[in-house]
């Protein structure tokens, strides 16, 4: 039996909040376990609102921070055993990140192509300028760009959607088997958003890369994911096949999340009136309403 691609075993991350009087413990991630098998590539989505611990989880999977307890196995290797520079580099060749804000992902004072060349130089056999150029161009072609559009450009000369695609191209250069994308479309313009999400499908189907897609947006999650987990305050509340979970959520919180998603079909004027929690509460207890109207 082969080891799964990624296996998280009861992962917990505690942060200590230092106060003047005593320290408070805060569980950013609480006893999370899941695994991504390596039979076929998939888009694995982690859904959560702010404070759900989804970004902390992503950073642990990327080996940027260490869990307080629990272990992460990537292709059977415990991430805690990665200590030397060489081991770190071998891990990065397999697992690459995409970050939330494409405008922040590249140094504004440096040219964007630099990161493509650096990645090619450090993780592939390419060494001569021509080889590096070819490696960067090949990766950019996969995301619908070419080196000519990127060469010598500074980040502010490209749009958010272009930058995010360059970031994905950079992550593809080492030929990773997994990409961790933390809220990759939340800062990208609406007309460009689908190009990124569609790209994830292409990466999975054509390049056989598994993707951990972290988001708060249920609609794109439904569109692109194979499996999902829903997190709340560090805990996994529901997991399973994306379509099944999102079409028929079982956990109370998942249902709440789904009911809060606005439908893009216009429902005419004032559809939300009487929909707020306060007014529903007021309707449910007319007694309180009369007190209100008296004063």
């Amino acid at each position: 039996m082969t080891a799964p691609l990624l296996h998280l075993d009861s992962l917990t991350k505690l942060y200590k909040r230092g106060g003047l009087f005593g320290r408070e413990e805060f569980r950013a991630v609480d006893n999370v376990s899941f695994h991504i098998h390596d039979k076929e590539p998939q888009v694995f989505t982690i859904i959560g609102e702010s404070g759900s611990g989804k970004t902390t989880l992503a950073r642990m999977v990327l080996n940027m921070i260490r869990p307080t307890t629990g272990t992460i196995f990537f292709k059977g290797q415990d991430l805690a055993s990665i200590r030397s520079g060489g081991a770190r580099r071998r891990f990065m060749k397999e697992v690459q990140p995409i970050f939330q804000n494409p405008f922040e992902a590249f140094n504004p004072l440096k040219r964007v192509d630099r990161y493509l060349y650096m990645t090619a130089k450090n993780f592939t056999d390419a060494h001569s300028p021509a080889q590096l150029d070819a490696a960067a161009d090949a990766a950019l072609n996969k995301v619908g760009l070419s080196i000519g559009e990127v060469r010598g450009r500074f980040p502010h000369e490209l749009s958010g959607g272009q930058l995010q695609r360059v970031a994905i191209a950079r992550a593809l250069i080492p030929g990773p088997s997994m990409i961790v994308a933390d809220e990759p479309v939340s800062m990208v313009d609406a007309s460009l958003r689908m190009s990124i999400v569609n790209l994830f499908r292409t990466l999975r189907d054509d390049l056989k890369v598994s993707i951990i897609y972290i988001t708060h947006d249920l609609a794109t999650a439904y569109y692109v994911s194979d499996r999902i987990i829903i997190m709340r305050k560090g805990e996994v509340v529901e997991s399973g096949l994306a379509r099944v979970v999102l079409e028929n959520p079982q956990h109370e919180y998942s249902r709440l999340l789904k009911s809060a998603v606005l439908s893009p079909d216009p429902r005419g004027q004032g559809v939300l009136i009487g929909d707020s929690a306060a007014s529903q509460q007021a309707r449910a207890s007319p007694h309180r309403q009369t007190i209100n109207s008296q004063s």
């Binding site: 460009l192 689908m194 998603v261 606005l262 929690a277 209100n292």
Partner: protein, 355 residues
């Protein structure tokens, strides 16, 4: 330029009218001049008791448009041409003395902004912030003012205890609700909401949106609601204007715009919205929004437009009424639909002359 009469709005069922509004950023850094045409000839109106949505991507000029209608213009931003008229002021907003302009703020014209932390003073309790903003405008005694604030919170079904809290003690959603209460305290005729729910979680977002809509209909205020999120527009606004690269490209009743988008840009935006329960593959638009310091000639959408024709490269299409209460700025759409009347042609002339 068309002559606009200097007495308030032209149509008395309108609360806000703008005529060919142009607001540019003019910068000078070490001898290099730069002009960013962030709002370039926007003519629109907001009717009484309606929520008018403004949609657009980043740097399409929607924030600048809001600054221009809220008289929050600071260098390097300048109003280059055009008029802003409100029903509650005489004449043009920019013809008013600055003191009068600041007197209408909060009393007649108020705001709900994205970062509620920037509105609420972090070191003052909420009731102090209410005093700072609204006491001057209400012309009430101290006790009466406190009573009015309490009554207002009750109407909005907010607990009175929040008045004694500091902003950091409240959740993001509650802070935004407090900002809505603050913005509606003086029962203003006009409210500007700039991405009021963008920073909020999904669950909270829906509730805050519902509260905005409830409050607006209860007080009969008119509202401009700006957000990039079309699903929010679908649920909140009565009429919708789509901005692209500093110009209004389509405007109509929200339901009409969603059911029958006529501008190719709008059509693409609406078609690309993902929905739960629908995995049908959605195409993305190639290219990216133009840099407004160096915008393309003619129709600013033509480099990305699947319907682009020769004329689009040279001439800027005017907003033309193509269906009842539905205006579109697109040559391709205009040729498909016979213009319902000739209302748009006057505007077309002014736009051409300014070019």
């Amino acid at each position: 330029m068309a002559q606009i009469p200097a007495s308030s709005v032209q149509n008395n069922s309108h609360v806000l009218e703008t005529h060919d509004l142009r607001a540019y950023y003019r910068m000078r850094y070490f001898g290099i001049d730069r002009e960013v045409r962030a709002v370039d000839g926007v003519s629109m109106h907001v009717r009484k008791n309606e929520v008018y949505g403004v949609a657009g991507e980043s740097s399409c000029g929607k924030t600048t448009f809001i600054k221009a209608i809220a008289a929050a213009i600071r260098p390097p931003l300048e109003i280059v041409a055009g008029h802003v008229n409100y029903s509650f002021i005489k004449g043009d907003l920019y013809a008013m003395p600055a003191a009068e302009r600041s007197a209408i703020r909060w009393r007649h014209l108020s705001y709900i902004l994205q970062g509620s932390m920037n509105v609420l003073n972090p070191v003052r309790r909420i009731h102090k912030t209410f005093e700072d903003f609204a006491f001057r405008h209400m012309n009430l005694g101290r006790a009466e003012f406190d009573q009015a604030v309490k009554h207002h919170l009750e109407r909005l079904r907010l607990p009175a205890e929040i008045l004694r809290a500091y902003p950091h003690e409240l959740s993001g959603g509650m802070r935004q609700r407090v900002c809505i209460a603050l913005a509606t305290l003086c029962k203003p005729e006009f409210i500007i909401a700039d991405e009021p729910t963008t920073a909020l979680d999904v669950v909270v977002q829906k509730d805050v949106l519902a509260m905005i809509r409830e409050t607006q209909s209860e007080f009969g205020s008119s509202m401009i609601f700006v957000t990039h999120d079309l699903t929010v527009h679908a649920n909140v606004t009565d009429r919708l204007g789509i901005m692209y690269a500093g110009r209004l490209v389509e405007e109509g009743r929200t339901a009409d715009v969603f059911a029958n988008p006529m501008h190719p840009y709008t059509a693409h935006l609406i078609a690309s919205l993902p929905k739960i329960g629908d995995t049908q593959s959605r195409n993305a638009l190639s290219g990216s929004p133009p840099n407004l310091a160096d915008a393309p000639k003619g129709c600013r959408f033509h480099p990305r437009c699947p319907l682009a024709m020769e004329i689009c490269r040279h001439e800027n299409p005017a907003l033309t009424t193509l269906a009842e209460d539905h205006r579109v700025a697109c040559f391709a759409a205009s040729t498909k639909v016979q213009p319902a009347n000739d209302e748009g042609s006057g505007e077309a002339k002014t736009l051409e002359m300014a070019r």
